[in-house]
Symmetry: C2
Subunit: 273 residues, 2 copies
């Protein structure tokens, strides 16, 4: 490792770039697909759309679209991939202001799209309970994870499974697994909740995503013992439970991104609390 050079862009470099022909490459299409996850009434849902174009016209699929690589007639180039994900999603449904977006992975098998080679960068979006998409209800909808063919963890006793277009069932399954494991060691559960929430609401997020009940009392203590997870607002919820009950304290997300120690979903009956 002797004599490291750290060359700066020189005249030769400039001349090379001026003469470069971008059309020489570019044999694959690049898309972004978004797995938007939320929890409605304690049940995890994913946003799906019916395909309005061939191929696989009429199938349920993830919202997605082509990355704008350069400025063009359709609009300016996407500065980065997350921008492309948000643009593509906002073209189909209104976006909440508070959200969490993270890259899930990239899918590029040769035969995943019958038209051509398509490389899809998938993103996971975690959002609080959103209104139904404003597009025609038959075109976009929040679908429970449990209704999907693969990768869920809920009960779907006898219900018909929904097949997704392309390899989107696999992508959703990967997204669900990502969400499940990230709740263990990050404070991401708050991304499913409004800006202020109760500890019970937070617990219900864990129970919905992990598909298993947690011990309320111990969960409560453990959340408060994890530094930076939540921050007390000093106020109380408007009212107690529907059938009576004490009013719960309201919290907002704390500054911490990672949880120390993590909330492990072990094999026991009610861990993490």
């Amino acid at each position: 490792m002797s004599g490291e050079r750290t060359p700066r862009r020189d005249d030769g470099e400039r001349r090379f770039l001026d003469a470069y022909d971008p059309g020489a490459y570019a044999p694959a299409a690049v898309t972004v697909d978004v797995v938007a996850l939320t929890i409605r009434a304690g049940v995890p849902h994913v946003l799906l759309m019916r395909r309005s174009a061939r191929p696989q016209l009429g199938w349920w699929a993830l919202p997605g679209g082509f990355v704008r690589a350069q400025d063009g007639p359709d609009g300016p180039a996407d500065p980065d991939l997350p921008d492309a994900a948000l643009r593509v999603l906002s073209e189909k449904t209104p976006l909440p202001t508070e959200l969490h977006l993270e890259q899930l992975g990239t899918y590029g098998a040769l035969d995943r799209d019958p038209r051509m080679r398509v490389i899809s960068v998938a993103y996971v979006l975690l959002a609080p309970d959103l209104p139904d998409p404003e597009t025609d209800a038959d075109q976009a909808a929040w679908i429970p994870w449990s209704a999907l063919g693969h990768g869920d963890g809920g009960d779907r006793g006898g219900r018909a499974e929904i097949d997704l277009a392309f390899d989107h069932a696999r992508i959703v399954a990967d997204a669900v697994e990502r969400a499940r494991s990230k709740l263990e060691y990050t404070a991401l559960a708050t991304a499913f909740l409004p800006p202020e929430f109760t500890i019970t609401a937070l617990r219900e997020v864990y129970e919905a995503v992990w598909g298993r009940p947690l011990h309320g009392a111990n969960f409560h203590r453990k959340i408060l013992a994890t530094p930076g997870f939540v921050e007390d607002t000093g106020r109380l919820a408007e009212r107690g439970g529907p059938g009576g009950g004490r009013r719960a304290r309201l919290y907002r997300p704390g500054g911490a991104a990672f949880l120390h120690p993590p909330l492990l979903r072990g094999a026991q009956s009610s861990p993490a609390g």
Copy 2:
């Protein structure tokens, strides 16, 4: 969710596909970059190459190359992205038979390559100590993480930092962080070791990657208490330490992919044991 349809490919679909023109899209180039990590003499290294072409001629960079989207003059199409990663890497250095390859993430900022819009799918490869690349030593080399400008954790007291081409410093930093966290909750540490190894060698992997000493006695017990992490071969190492010492038992990787419980790298002096 009433009346789900699961349409099959019909005549209209077939006619559509026959008439489809793939050239209508394809505005971005897709590459794969590989962050190959190994440990040599207790020090973590990454495989880097000097760029032999413009742009950034002569800079250190990750091995990588364009994805073959279709069959062409250079060879057949890559069936999937991991195949592309292995092909690209094998074109530059011989590959070990035992290795772990996983997708790290995809980088697609508008200005990350001055030539054109390039979307790079990055892979992490964990490998046992490999021989030096057979290409010219000045063209490819194993470089210690600590020599790199960003994202390391080792000491580099006064040593000159190596700048990487494009956004590769960021990619390597992400790969290092991925490796560090995956050692916590998966059995991946064995990917850095030969097929049979001692518990001490395993501990040295953790110490190298995490950059911190661990308590040998407790580590030993904890590894053996984690089901499926390692499996006893019943044999002993050829000899003890250089200055004397008992011969260590040899183990091979167990079947488990995930560790229950995980080995947490907390903030204390010597966790995980």
